[in-house]
Subunit: 326 residues, 2 copies
């Protein structure tokens, strides 16, 4: 252990979501020593958001022995740019939807100038898997986050892929249906995210319910209010239509992963986020479709794994891992 | 300059093609000091191929001052595996179509144990662009080779992407048409290569000629014998149908590059190979289609370039650059 790890045994992780901002103080083994949270919204200016954050942080920093024990801070945030430590044009953040916000710098200035790293949430998840999760020891893997959207963090030769501008790894926005593709939040059509996110799964449910007469537990629900969790619960009860929705979603993810293999031939695809709770319901069709679609030389090589990070704290751990990289 | 560069100022480059094997002895500035060639085919066993190669090489090695002046050898070859120095199941090579051939080791043993590196031809082209060509100083770029097939060499963080098995970067085999896609040589359907290779362009020509009644210079040719060069010549003469073929091809390449940007956000896409001789006929529709299809955050960032390596010697230079990396 280096001197630094002895004197400064902790990093702060911030999982900055559209609704909540969750802070954790984490040690080198991935143990969360203290945690706190504030609402992300309700601030017009980023300075006010940082003020509220630092006030909440002070309490847990004191709990672990003061700012002198903190090596660095890592932030996972939507539209986070690793190179600049900025959040750029994040549509869901009132204080960052309309420009470039130097969030890493603002936190560093308020926290005794400790180094602060920032990246998008999917990249943070990938670093988290490499540091504490199922990707320990792996040099080439792809994390795919299945949540409200579909995100990705790509690791090649042991390094996260940021590209020329800090925004690489937007695999939720590769086009999987070129003709008659579903409109996507990004303004284009046919993106993976429009089908395989939690909202995409709910859309698939509504489409299938309106197109067919097949009986289903989902027909008892208001179609507009159906969520991917409802589909998961119905599938768990053996509902054929709900299972079909996961088949459809998994097949598409498997096709997409087959293309991703042609890019970076990863050792593993690691799935992260709420939808992975559906377990084999989603993972089995992904694997089957991948085997069917992948180029012959890649067949049977990649593992398909579910995140090894504890669900409730995974995003904070991922963010904290960015701190260790500083 | 290191001692080694002074005492051993040269590397051997081998461009191992399906028809010819071209050897060059190259200095650190990319100047080819001597060159020779043998036929690739006509050998049942790899040992016979290596024997014939070494015999031809001896002459040019003597011309530059003997094997003592040679630092290393680099080979660009179909189905070349960088990690193992092997050629694996290369369908077009009689002496390597049915197994794993340790070509790098065989050459090293016959050449005073100099280090020998081997990779596929598109990766060699990417290393060549980084060492001697338009990618000097770039850390993130993608080379796309448009030849008999479509290949690619991907550089991220200044390193070539080999993936977990040495076979990453098969962008010719991402699926660009999921429904009713053209059969591809790889056994699947809808691959980029089935549309945008030289043979794909010829197929597009035959399809358009049979589907439409549009007058064209290409109608004077035997449809089965049409090549991408014929299409290029006709387009150069202003033939509307031939121009349309390049529009179609370029549009598809632009769509594909837009997806590749979502993966690694490269600083540049660099096109390499015979089809780039069509110049703006192919490059303009690529750029237009990319701008139309790429995710907003990537718009206007990537450059679209044609290889900076001299056409006739580009592949040998690329292969030699693999030698410098050893």
């Amino acid at each position: 252990m280096s001197n630094d790890s002895v004197n400064k045994p902790y990093v702060i992780g911030l999982d900055l979501g559209g609704t909540n901002s969750v802070f954790g103080i984490v040690d080198a083994r991935g143990e969360i020593k203290a945690t706190t949270a504030i609402k992300t919204q309700g601030y017009d200016k980023v300075e006010d958001y940082v003020d509220a954050s630092v006030e909440a942080l002070k309490v847990i920093i004191e709990q672990v022995g003061g700012i002198e024990t903190i090596k660095a801070m890592g932030i996972g945030a939507p539209n986070g740019n690793y190179y600049n430590g900025t959040i750029e044009f994040a549509p869901n953040l009132a204080w960052a939807h309309n420009g470039v916000v130097p969030l890493a710098k603002l936190f560093s200035e308020r926290l005794d100038n400790i180094p602060v790293g920032l990246t998008n949430d999917a990249n943070a998840a990938a670093i988290g898997e490499m540091t504490y999760g199922v990707a320990r020891g792996m040099k080439n893997f792809i994390v795919i986050t299945l949540g409200t959207g579909v995100g990705s963090g790509i690791v090649i030769n042991g390094q996260l892929v940021y590209g020329c501008d800090g925004f690489a790894g937007e695999l939720g926005h590769v086009i999987v249906r070129r003709e008659n593709g579903r409109p996507c939040g990004c303004g284009r059509s046919g993106c993976l995210e429009a089908y395989c996110s939690a909202t995409g799964v709910a859309r698939t449910a509504r489409e299938l319910l309106s197109k067919t007469q097949e009986p289903s537990l989902l027909r008892e629900l208001d179609p507009e209010a159906i969520t991917s969790l409802d589909v998961s619960i119905a599938a768990g009860k053996g509902d054929a239509l709900a299972k079909h929705i996961y088949e459809f979603t998994g097949e598409m993810l498997g096709e997409a992963c087959a293309d991703f293999a042609a890019f970076s031939s990863p050792e593993a695809f690691i799935f992260f986020g709420g939808m992975t709770k559906a377990g084999d319901l989603i993972m089995d069709p992904i694997k089957r479709s991948y085997d069917k679609n992948v180029l012959k030389i890649f067949k049977g090589k990649a593992k398909f794994l579910v995140s090894g990070l504890d669900g409730s704290s995974a995003a904070v751990l991922g963010a904290s891992a960015v701190g260790w990289e500083m």
